[in-house]
């Protein structure tokens, strides 16, 4: 058990170090950090002084060591473009993105599971087939078009929902949330639908496939033979056994949801990390890009770690074995 946890942890740390090396190489070798931070008319002495202060004259391994040390403390340097510490920018924008991503995942899970179960039970039904065909069209529909379509319908034509921003947010310490005000909740609806849609189709197809598999097994036939009501068979017996892969995929996808939020945040001018990252890419603001990369990597590593541990808790067979679970 402890060996298993330690191995997962060690893997996580190696991945983080590898990503840190990529981030550091970007920081160090793309463009000239000094030229990016000072104006055109800065003198050579000023440039030299800045390079010294940033530690750019140190040997490479030492710079990397410092870089990792700073990362561990949450220091990502100064944004080239905004001249503010990247850490402050991140803290300012993390709540918007996390709130959006969590709600989207919840939306995708709830509706994805419901629709998946429905399409599996009513496999030959008209509605179920319609849902499946729609999901195929949904896959071909780029996220930003879904967002624009929603804006056109609910903001331009019907004027029910705001088309951009977070609305009024409430501060809870350093965290901000839109859930406590009316305008905040209204602002969340369309971005959540847009971001959650792709996950929804994914989860729906997964649940459907797993359910069809489960419904063919002997214990379901036996349950039918015992005269257990069909509803109870579907939800209490079959669905329960599909939950492990579904929760795994949903968990592992959380990092992707955060990354896909880049598009959603741009469409809805959502003040989150994704919008910050896009600006950084446009203006080659390397420290912000590097910090975003580290953030997404951290989310990936943490969700992977969480899922590994969850497997351990869910699947008793793993407890005896020393081998890592196959994913």
């Amino acid at each position: 058990m402890i060996a298993y946890i330690l191995r997962s942890l060690a893997q996580a740390i190696v991945v983080m170090l590898a990503v840190a090396l990529i981030a550091f190489s970007m920081f160090r070798f793309v463009g000239d950090p000094v030229a990016n931070m000072v104006g055109q008319e800065a003198s050579m002495a000023e440039r030299e002084e800045l390079a010294q202060r940033l530690g750019l004259n140190d040997p490479f391994p030492l710079q990397f060591a410092h870089f990792v040390r700073d990362l561990a403390r949450g220091e990502f340097g100064m944004s080239y473009r905004q001249g503010r510490p990247v850490k402050d920018l991140l803290i300012e924008r993390v709540p918007a993105t996390i709130e959006l991503a969590l709600l989207s995942s919840a939306f995708a899970l709830v509706f994805g599971i419901a629709l998946g179960v429905y399409t599996a039970i009513k496999r030959r039904g008209l509605m179920a087939n319609a849902v499946m065909s729609l999901s195929l069209i949904g896959v071909s529909l780029p996220t930003f078009l879904i967002g624009i379509g929603l804006i056109y319908l609910f903001a331009v034509e019907l004027r029910w929902l705001p088309s951009f921003g977070r609305g009024e947010v409430t501060r809870l310490g350093w965290w901000t949330t839109g859930l406590l005000t009316d305008s905040g909740r209204k602002s969340l609806i369309m971005p959540v639908l847009t971001l959650g849609f792709f996950q929804l189709t994914l989860i729906m197809r997964l649940v459907r496939a797993e359910m069809l598999e489960a419904l063919r097994t002997d214990y379901i036939k036996f349950a039918r033979a015992r005269g257990i009501p069909e509803r109870s068979i579907s939800f209490r017996h079959a669905l329960r056994n599909t939950m492990i892969p579904v929760v795994t995929i949903a968990g592992l996808q959380f990092g992707s949801v955060i990354a896909f939020a880049i598009v959603t945040e741009t469409v809805f001018q959502w003040p989150g990390l994704g919008a910050l990252f896009i600006q950084a890419v446009q203006f080659v603001d390397i420290p912000v890009m590097a910090a975003y990369l580290m953030f997404v990597a951290l989310v990936f590593v943490l969700t992977n770690l969480g899922v590994d541990l969850l497997y351990f808790a869910l699947d008793p067979r793993l407890r005896g074995a020393t081998a890592a679970p196959a994913r």
Partner: protein, 314 residues
Amino acid sequence: MRAPTARQEGLGARLWRAWDSDIAWSFRHSPVAIAAALVVTILLLGAAFASLIAPQNAFDAASLNLMDGFTRPGEASATGRVFLLGSDDQGRDVFSAILYGSRVSLLVGFASVIFSIAIGVTLGLISGYLGGRTDAVIMRVADIQLSFPAILIALLVFGVARGLIAPQYHENAAIGVLIVAIGLSNWAAYARTVRGSTLVEKNKDYVMSARVMGRPAFAIMGQHVLPNVIGPVLVIATINLALAIIAESTLSFLGVGVPPTQPSLGTLIRVGQQFLFSGEWWILFYPALDLVLLALSINLLGDWLRDALNPKLR
């Protein structure tokens, strides 16, 4: 003595064989595939012959007249011109803009797929054929590529390339950078598939005999193994083409793709979005429709191809 090869058959016989093949049979009996192929063909021809079909060279500023701006589809503008799908704020014909725009989108889509096939197939062959440590390293890198969302990789590559290329070259390099960025974010699927089939093929007798004859490893991979592992690559390539076109339009929509002087479908949608609130829906709607039709038909073709090449799945 050589057995008769396809080259010695007459043209008629060859055409008949193509018509009579399993794939063609399955195609003839799938209305969805026929419809999808028709749509893709029309859109491809439209893009290829944009300069002949388009009523206007949409990106030659001299041909635009501001008086024509915001003309509704099918109505006459202030100067009396009629635009099939309407005109945008600068009096540009939306229909022409779509033809020229889909040309850029398709160019980036095809080129990036070819680029990722080149990388993926090469690495997959090497990985499967050589095995050992090389295999482990390549597959680990492929794992990393697969576990990060393609859009994030493409954006990072794009940002880094922008930092490395001097600002005055940004516009000219944009399409090349996009192709590399999208290509680099999609190669791992090919590498995995090719590696898998290579592992099977490399133990077969023909590879053994080539080895005994003393052919170098790279010749065996390229001339003997490659033709036998390329089949599944085509299926992935079709589906990836749709993904690549969507990725290109997404990047352009985000404002980090091709410059507005050579707009793709994504750029047109980005521009059109500004006019959504003032009611000029056609500037946005038609490019978006073109993009969705293109992606959907390519996806449907990919689905059909997968089933046709793999009768077991049916």
